[in-house]
């Protein structure tokens, strides 16, 4: 988004459109000349960046200090310092309390940050690529593909366990990998279907293809669940979100995917701004919307697939966070994507804190928390803001 008198370069060496960019949406508003959206700066303001970093810090501190088990905050802090190389301190925490801090809360907070950031940035990217405010990271069938992949892996694990000599034990450790493959297959199917019949892969066609692929794969998952009903409990456990059992293994699994895909998506923030005026106009400005769309769809899908494969299906993050950022801090993707990474991570880490403390010692599925708190918060933002 460029503001009046602030023609920020869309790509190196090129000028952004002089006119204000309309908010994302498949249909241009009739009153597109409304200048409201144009007053926001295209550049990320330091105060919002500080707010994002502050949100992450608050989420980390709260996520580590609070939980269903009451721990001495000072002890928790010292225990964390003790993790640093060359530092040897006695926190006063018992062995089980130390394990709670270092092996449960810390990896869970880290995974929440990574998953939340990935889903939020992917959501913002999808919204920009498809110019559709309802786009979310699961748009192109990723959730259905990952769900089917996980189901196949779990069913396969049970079948393997029943083979002679298998030792009676399935191997659910490969579930995330198969879920990841399933998600990528789903996106590939959507993209292939989007070009079927000789039509171009327009955003609208891709969206419809995503709906079709989602329905198809969901039906496959449902069939498998009914056919192998003894696995249904494990499948649902996976679908409901896996932060509950997160460990360092999951963090390390996701970390490279999250860092790379978030980095690439944020790197394309200027091109997304240019694309928001439409393909034809973007091309006239020297951009390559089709190529950019392909790259971003692949990267966002890869990041989402990686996140889903280790965390299960967690909704709302990819919708709520980018829109909230857009409404509060600005409509340029140079603002939306970096802040979505920060606020998305903080949001999910805090949602996970709510999941494990609101009804302690019981847990609440994190998807329930993100929906219960995210949706009303989003409505408040909508009602108090003039922008969308």
């Amino acid at each position: 988004m460029t503001g009046p008198g602030r023609k920020a370069p869309a790509t190196p060496g090129r000028k952004a459109p002089a006119k204000s960019v309309a908010p994302i949406g498949a249909v241009e508003p009739v009153h597109a000349v409304e200048p409201v959206v144009a007053v926001e700066p295209a550049r990320l303001r330091v105060r919002w960046l500080a707010a994002g970093v502050g949100a992450v810090v608050v989420a980390v501190i709260a996520g580590l200090a609070l939980g269903p088990v009451g721990l001495n905050p000072g002890g928790v802090f010292i225990e964390l310092l003790d993790l640093l190389p060359g530092v040897h301190l006695h926190s006063g925490l018992s062995a089980s309390e130390q394990a709670i801090v270092t092996q449960l809360r810390l990896p869970r907070v880290c995974l929440g940050l990574l998953v939340g950031a990935t889903l939020a940035v992917a959501g913002g990217t999808y919204q920009g690529v498809f110019r559709n405010p309802l786009a979310d990271p699961y748009l192109l069938g990723i959730a259905a593909g990952a769900g089917l992949g996980a189901t196949i892996a779990i069913v396969g694990g049970h079948a393997f366990a029943q083979l002679p000599g298998a030792g009676g034990s399935g191997t659910p450790i490969y579930v995330p990998f198969v879920a990841f493959i399933g998600a990528l297959v789903a996106v590939t199917m959507t993209y292939a279907l989007g070009a079927a019949g000789g039509t171009a892969r327009t955003p609208a066609v891709l969206l419809l293809a995503g709906v079709a692929v989602t329905a198809f794969l969901t039906a496959g998952q449902t069939y498998l669940q009914q056919r192998y009903v003894e696995t249904i409990r494990e499948v649902y456990s996976w679908i409901m979100g896996r932060l509950t059992t997160a460990g360092w293994h999951d963090v390390l699994l996701l970390l490279p995917f999250a860092v790379i895909t978030i980095g690439v998506m944020i790197g394309y923030r200027r091109q997304l701004d240019v694309m928001s005026v439409g393909d034809a106009e973007a091309e006239s400005l020297g951009a390559h919307p089709r190529r950019t769309r392909l790259v971003l769809v692949v990267v966002a899908s890869l990041g989402t697939a990686a996140a889903v494969s280790v965390s299960g299906l967690i909704g709302f993050v990819g919708i709520i966070v980018p829109h909230t950022v857009r409404l509060m801090a600005g409509t340029s993707y140079r603002v939306i994507l970096p802040l979505s990474a920060l606020f998305g991570g903080a949001f999910l880490a805090l949602a996970d804190l709510g999941a494990r403390t609101l009804t302690a010692p019981d847990e609440i599925p994190i998807g329930v928390v993100t929906a219960f708190f995210g949706a009303p918060f989003f409505i408040v933002i909508l009602r108090t803001s003039r922008r969308l």
Binding site: L139, T214, S237, T244, T245, G247, I314, G315, T359, D362
Partner: protein, 321 residues
Amino acid sequence: MRRPVPTIASAAVLAVLTLAGVGLAGCGSSGSTSAAPAASASSTEAVTYPVTQDGTTLSAKPTHIISMSPTATDMLFTIGAGSQVIAVDKNSDFFGANAPATTPPADIDAFQPNAETIAAKNPDLVVLSDDTNKIKEALVKLKIPVYMAPAATTIDDTYHQMTALGALTGHPTTAAAAVAAEKKAIGDDLAKLKPRTKPLTFYYELDQTFYSVTSKTFIGSLFGMAKMTNIADAGNASNPYPQLSAEVIIKANPDVIFLADTDCCQQSAVAVAKRPGWSTIGAVKEQQVVPIPDDVASQWGSRVPKLLDTIVTESNAAPTS
């Protein structure tokens, strides 16, 4: 587009599945023994019909029974009505203490029951544990008698269902003997229980995301009979099947861990020990992680004494804390 928001529904499904134990009981451990007496499949008892039990009235002795519940199947064979059973649901794999050489076909889907499929077998009694998809109403419309044997919440529910099925199927005496034998076996189990100055604490795991049971459940009540303290009781009293937080379990430091997810979810003592932070738990350090076959853990039929015997044995074996 599929959104994961309906996790509430998913949670409800999981809770219902977990609660009822239906269908999850189908895997493993066929051929286990029960404490119930051996019942003759050909035994005949003089019973005057019509007979009414819990709202179900039969005008004649049923000879074409369909069981839609693994526990009901167990009970029917235990009370001597096995020869009258013509079909069972796909998850029924335990046919009482003395399983017949030829068991009825297990070809009915209890999760997606179809009234036409059931009616095609011309049953004169259908035993259900859940009214899935309003199957009871559909069968009643087809003039097929239905007996509901829902998941027991107390051991008395088990005795009541066995007695009622005995009356309906023409085996009241055998059913009474089976109930008496089960009561005696449970009494014998509890008599073996070693007294402790401090009750053992335990964690009962339904799945690897830490769903558990409180003492308000049937399975939870068995541990209460064995004088053990359930760490899940500390939570929300209104939820009998809570999902505990891992850190709560670690902090509670249970003396014994019972795994009821060995078949469904491939959990084991080794897998538990590998979980982050769980090596600090006393039950893991003392190797007091006890696997229980999923079906034994989720049924309320003739194998309850066997389950209680496992609980008592592990309680006696656990070191004094």
